[in-house]
Subunit: 317 residues, 2 copies
């Protein structure tokens, strides 16, 4: 049996997994990333943890083929991270090389949303498909484009940046500095901003009563909408329409086999996807729209290690 | 030397070419398509023309490897045309099979905008690139997505349908029946509609004087704008902004190496692309926008036979 390592490098914690070639998790553990100590320290620690896992499971080092890793930033050549979201690590860092020096095995790196989507492709919601649009709808909206079973990374490591599709000319300000971006409307953050704004002027509703003593979260809006709160229902309808517009845009270009939605907002499940499908005919040609399939991601917190191990398995140096 | 056939199947005329493996056109001719006589007649005629070309150039039939063809409609599996734009031919027609029966050589088929983009990739503006966004801006806006040197066709043969990206919620009506599509604004037809509409209420301008006795064409608008006509300049600026929005959208998803613009509107050249680049920072993340390259297509009317021959050359059964 062949084994692959998968690491999900996170801002606070990192998840380390060892998987066999059939997609079974043989070992997994979580460690503090401590990026403030510098990338060499983090790589050393993660490599040591991997070796412990191999030892504990009596896996011969020759049967450990390669390592994959998902990182929070755009990457190119499955090796180089162009810039880091919230890590004090250098730009254009060839992290694969650094890891290879520790492990003496091939190492492959890609953006975390890309990696999650590869996980869903291997053993999750997109299993059996070859062309996938992956979406992670949380603080922002991340995206991943799989073509013929492989991620496309893009010239600048930035393919799949669907959160920054411009949906409204001169629209809401986005965290990226531009206006009208998809994620300014339909991310959890976007939903929370819209809700907060409306509750300023309308306090006669369930959402206000639920959240008056604390911060609003997107899931509160979905919860109240499910219970029939008019203000919350309106926000969910508008969110679903923007999601239809964003998905319609991406599918007009990609005509993917399937859309897999993950992240906190996707936890709203069919309550949300049914509404998206209702609006989709307004934003997508009939020839594509009639065959659209939208699924909710299945792998949860393990998606990263599944996807990273699969990247390793499908790559060659 | 190996030789490949390339056919550009058009509504009125079809172009037939024989190219060598280095991309030289050895033979080319134009015949009436006469689709009204049925697909079997057209295929027979095109096959006969190809054979004449091979004979005239004393090309051994063993050295003629395969045939590629661009068709006006969405295709799947490089063989089957899902539906025809203005041809009285059956839906889901496996045209490759029909041709193979005539020629006893492998035949590969793809959508005409995809084929033109492959031509530019082989010997034109995108030579040397692997990931290309092709655009054909004329009556509508067609698109083509090349990833790792190959066209992606999509689940429904409809990938690259960038003309139907929704740019405006509840915007202008498009020929497809939806509202707010990219091509309703920035195609030649879109530009002409906008110009006609404005000339209804403003006749004190160069564009009105030039076109008062005939139909407006998009190129009149560009011509008058170049000469400083204020009304025309405004339309060109607005068109460039929509083009920036559409290109920004596509590149947010694809992060392609290069954009190649063809079709009548692209003949405006740098006068137009310079304006598009001016608006691009409003619609595309800095990390992608700073490296954007937009080129005008180079192959003109021969793009179709170049691309079709290249499809044949890069494909295997």
């Amino acid at each position: 049996m062949k084994y692959y390592g998968g690491i999900d490098l996170g801002g606070t914690n990192s998840k380390i997994g060892i998987l066999d070639e059939n997609g079974n998790i043989i070992y997994s553990t979580i460690v503090k990333t401590e990026s403030n100590l510098g990338y060499k320290e983090t790589i050393k620690k993660l490599s040591d943890c991997l070796k412990v896992g191999l030892d504990e499971n009596k896996i011969n080092y020759d049967d450990f083929i390669s390592l994959g890793m998902g990182v929070p930033g755009p990457t190119v050549n499955k090796s180089t991270v162009i810039m880091w979201a919230n890590f004090p690590w250098p730009e254009n860092l060839n992290l694969a090389n650094e890891f290879e020096n520790q492990l003496s095995k091939p190492v492959y790196i890609d953006n975390d949303v890309n990696i999650i989507t590869l996980g869903e492709l291997w053993v999750g919601a997109a299993k059996g498909y070859k062309n996938v649009l992956g979406m992670a709808i949380g603080t922002g909206i991340g995206g991943a484009v799989v073509v013929n079973g492989e991620i496309i990374s893009g010239k600048n490591g930035a393919s799949g940046e669907i959160g920054h599709i411009p949906l409204e000319k001169k629209g809401r300000l986005c965290g990226c500095g531009k206006r009208g971006c998809f994620e300014a409307y339909a991310s959890a953050t976007g939903i929370e901003r819209i809700a907060k704004d409306r509750l300023e002027v309308n306090k006669n509703n369930m959402l206000y009563n639920l959240t008056k003593d604390r911060d609003i979260e997107a899931k509160d809006v979905f919860e109240c909408a499910k219970q029939g709160d008019k203000l919350s229902m309106d926000i969910v309808e508008e969110t679903a329409e923007y999601l239809a517009m964003g998905i319609g845009t991406a599918l007009s270009i990609l005509d993917s086999d399937i859309v897999v939605m993950g992240g906190g907002v996707a936890l709203a499940g069919e309550f949300l996807t049914d509404k998206i499908k209702k609006y989709l005919p307004d934003y997508l040609m009939t020839s594509i729209e009639k065959n659209v399939e939208i699924k909710i991601a299945e792998l949860g917190n393990n998606a990263g290690i599944y996807g990273a191990a699969y990247l390793a398995m499908q790559s060659k140096k």
